[in-house]
Amino acid sequence: MSGRWLAGKVAAALLTLAFVIVFNFFLFRIMGDPTTQLARLPGSSPEQIEKLKADYGLDKPLTGQFVDYVGDTLTLDLGISQRSREPVWDEIKDAIPWTLLLVGVGTLAATLLGSWLGVVAATRRGKRADDGLLSFSLFTYAAPEYWIGIILILVFAVWIPIFPAGLQMSPGVEFNSWWAEVTDVLDHLILPATAMTLMLLGQYFLIMRSSMVDVLTEDFVTVKRATGLPWHRVVRSHAVPNALLPLVTIAAIQFGAVAGGAITIETIFSWPGLGELSFTAINDKDFPVLQGTFLVFSVGVIFANLIADCLYFYLDPRVQSR
């Protein structure tokens, strides 16, 4: 039973992925002929434009281009960047670790901190701590991430210069030890990771808080309490696990927002991840790269949802029995 359930989820994910791949192709074809931007370059003749088109396979009919595209995508050949003429996959490969680091640290911190604060607020519902945390979370939730980023830079890099304002490590420095390099990266990571945490924190907090508030009013909590179990044990061992379910869903759905947030935060902090790569590609109208980052983001979201489904399987016995 459970095997079939899992297979179904995987199949659904693959179907979504296939749709994304097809959609991605046509999305970038209707945006116009990328070689027109070269027409205004001094010295570019019609012959050169034809040559460029041939280089990028744009002279073939659409169906031919599509067949090539699907085959290439499945073998991770995402084409050649129009700007750097490097394979797109190489550029993406270089950027992925940086994004994973930033998004990973940000998401982890936001989940832990957000759910913890959510529990704290829910157990002190209506009290001053709850009000304060609620306003703070609503504020960070509502504030656009680029604004948060710029404020962080202004305060902690310009006014009180205790953090670097951007980049992922000090430029042009030859590090003599891995320790120096790691601390340098950590140093540069803190501000963007904080921005990412603040961006995500509100939602985790709000979900956890409302979920906890619901759970705490349920009968089993009263029963547990009646057995004489201390309050914090009731909360930690019985209420929190039940309240965690919506959080898992949110974490997966949030992944899309994380990708979006990564674009602005990475750009503001000159963080060389997928977001900055996308931003540069948009500016350069570098369609192959954009297509590649879209694909990677989509795969990320699909994969995250699949993971969430699997987690559900273990977290929620109701799913297993179905």
Binding site: P42, I162, F175
Partner: protein, 605 residues
């Protein structure tokens, strides 16, 4: 008891972090010095390749121009021809054979001699296959190399560009010549260090991050004061400007017009505005019926009186003040003032004169209509004015043009479109013939550093269907163009160009609005002796993209670091470490202390 113990542990952890805080920066600094003086230049857009056969970006030239010489370099004084790879040159009597003499002492950075083989290969191969270099050798018929240090260039007709306008880098043939052409124009990535002849050569290239250029040991000119030049890539223009403010970098190659004034008022920062061979123009669709039978436009746009009246109504000074925030220069015709050797302010210059504009239109029979738009024989002076969405400057300029011409009864409908759309409107063809679909647009062009031929060629009738986007067609102009192109004498050539400018000022295929600048900034505490050049008196900091002369005079300033690149950890990291450890310790303590508590009445779960 227990609790206190745990609290003590967390406190100790926090204290340890704090100690780390103090110890860290010092240790890191020791670890991360690269030694020597470094000139750090920031930008938001970096070259996508080091290979000049495929590079298409402006930024590429910044690196190429430091790494390689041209056959004939640009004089930092006025950009006129100066010795480069060639030490001297002579022009034959029929002006069709030019002989260049090379310096027998000259060596590439790897120690190989620079010879005529390098020159011949570069001019022939890069000059015919390099995406940005193909137009310069169109008149060259043959290149001879009688010996290692002599190059003879034969042309089909006299071509002044061979001296002073042959913008083709001379690459080491012993490296590039060994690579198959297919790779050169494909994905070839040259080995580093990038063997060159300029003062610095690329030793590290990480796309999207950093380009490091170190001194060329065999450089023939004066030794630069810096050991190293680093180009550091930031995510946005804002981030780059902030890095300059914070002293992370010494120079910014491109400051945004919006922040130019603000940046200039910051302590220790000096802004530089220098002229360039670029302009912004209001263009008209002048395509004649026989060349563009399917063109679509309001025929009134081809009435010269209308264009002249519009020119008198436009206040170019105001466009510079408001739209360009005073960072540009009001223009006087199709040849930017930047071309010092050839520029002369045209007589017919259209100063702001609304009365005169009205007079011209009255005389031409354009009658003011009830809605404030002039008409004649059912035609209205109402035009589409296309402008690119990515240029706020151009959009604002378009709005000002519309506002300023309204009082003379000319209506412009400003249409903001994507650059692709505007390109389509101007280059689209029907049955192989151009079919431009616009009345007017605002856009810009940039020319070569010394030779004005490229900018002048935009109005040739032979460029209709090519680069011409005004579709101007005038045999007299074409004839003068050919004449100037073959004139080596600067004074003579200037006279011919003056006539050409006068013709376009009369016919107005373009109303050039502003000559556009290069906006740069540098820190006065970390670099000293900055003498803008190219051209001298108000040029740019490092002869960006056309040379490297100022690099030999610029020196590190008083506050210049030893090249730790702002490295070393900031105190913040330690503070955060302290918080994380402290908090973690506290949580751990909480957890442990709770584990001890177990109520006797607890039911089995």
């Amino acid at each position: 008891m227990r609790r206190r113990g745990i609290a003590a542990i967390s406190f100790a952890l926090a204290a340890f972090s704090a100690v780390l805080a103090v110890a860290l920066p010092a240790a890191a600094q020791d670890d991360s010095s690269s030694g020597g003086s470094v000139l750090r230049i920031g930008w938001a857009q970096d070259p996508s390749t080091l290979n000049p056969f495929v590079g298409l970006d402006e930024e590429d030239y910044n690196v190429w121009a430091m790494n390689w010489d041209l056959l004939v370099n640009f004089d930092p004084e006025d950009l006129s021809p100066a010795p480069g790879i060639a030490k001297s040159w002579t022009v034959s009597d029929d002006k069709k054979t030019i002989t260049f003499k090379l310096d027998p002492e000259a060596k590439w950075s790897d120690g190989e001699p620079i010879t005529s083989t390098d020159v011949k290969w570069s001019l022939e191969t890069l000059g015919s296959e390099g995406d940005l270099f193909t137009n310069y050798t169109s008149n060259v018929t043959r290149i001879d190399t009688p010996d290692d240090y002599t190059v003879v260039v034969h042309t089909s007709k006299p071509d002044a560009r061979i001296i002073g306008g042959l913008f083709i880098y001379i690459l080491p043939e012993h490296i590039w010549g060994k690579v198959p052409l297919k790779d050169l124009t494909g994905q070839y990535k040259p080995d580093l260090p990038l063997v060159g002849s300029g003062p610095f050569v690329v030793t590290e290239y990480e796309h999207g991050r950093i380009i490091r250029m170190e001194r060329n040991p065999n450089f023939r000119g004066p030794e630069p004061a810096f050991d190293e030049v680093q180009f550091i890539k930031y995510g946005t223009q804002d981030a780059t400007e902030r890095a300059l403010q914070l002293g992370e970098i010494d120079m910014v190659m491109e400051v945004s017009a919006t922040n130019f004034a603000r940046l200039g008022s910051e302590p220790n920062i000096e802004t530089v505005k220098s002229p360039t061979p670029a302009y912004t123009e209001l263009a008209f669709n002048l395509c004649p019926e026989d060349k563009c039978p399917d063109a679509q436009f309001n025929p009134a746009v081809q009435d010269r009186d209308v264009r002249q009246a519009i020119a008198y109504a436009i206040d170019r000074e105001r466009i510079n003040t408001i739209a360009a925030r005073e960072t540009s220069y009001p223009a006087h015709g199709i040849l930017p003032e930047f071309y010092k050797s050839f520029y002369e302010q045209p007589e017919q210059d259209y100063p702001l004169d609304v009365d005169r504009a009205n007079q011209i239109l009255d005389d031409a029979g354009w009658v003011m209509g009830d809605d404030g738009v002039r008409e004649k024989d059912g035609e209205r002076l109402e035009f589409d004015l296309y402008v690119r969405s990515e240029s706020t400057y151009n959009i604002q300029a378009a709005k000002l043009v519309a506002e300023q011409t309204a009082p003379i009864g000319v209506k412009f409908n400003v249409q903001v479109v994507s650059v692709d759309k505007l390109t389509d409107l101007t280059i689209q063809k029907v049955d192989g013939k151009p079919a431009p679909d616009f009345d007017t647009f605002i856009w810009g062009w940039g020319g070569d550093p010394y030779d004005p031929s490229f900018l002048l060629s935009l109005f040739l009738s032979t460029e209709i269907g090519g680069l011409s986007d005004s579709f101007y067609d005038n045999p007299a102009y074409d004839k003068l163009f050919a004449e100037q192109a073959g004139t080596f004498d600067v004074a003579e050539r200037k006279e011919i160009i003056k006539k050409m400018v006068a013709i376009t000022q009369r016919d107005l295929p373009y109303i050039v609005l502003t000559y556009d600048p290069n906006l740069q900034a540098y820190r006065t505490d970390t670099v000293a002796n900055v003498e803008p050049a190219c051209p001298a008196d108000g040029g740019d900091i490092i002869c960006e993209q056309v040379g490297y002369a100022p690099l030999s005079t610029i020196t590190p300033g008083d506050a210049s670091g030893s090249g730790d690149g702002g490295g070393g950890q900031s105190p913040g990291l330690a503070v955060v470490a302290a918080i994380v450890f402290g908090f973690g310790g506290w949580m751990l303590g909480l957890r442990q202390s709770r584990r001890r508590e177990r109520e006797p009445l607890e039911l089995p779960e």
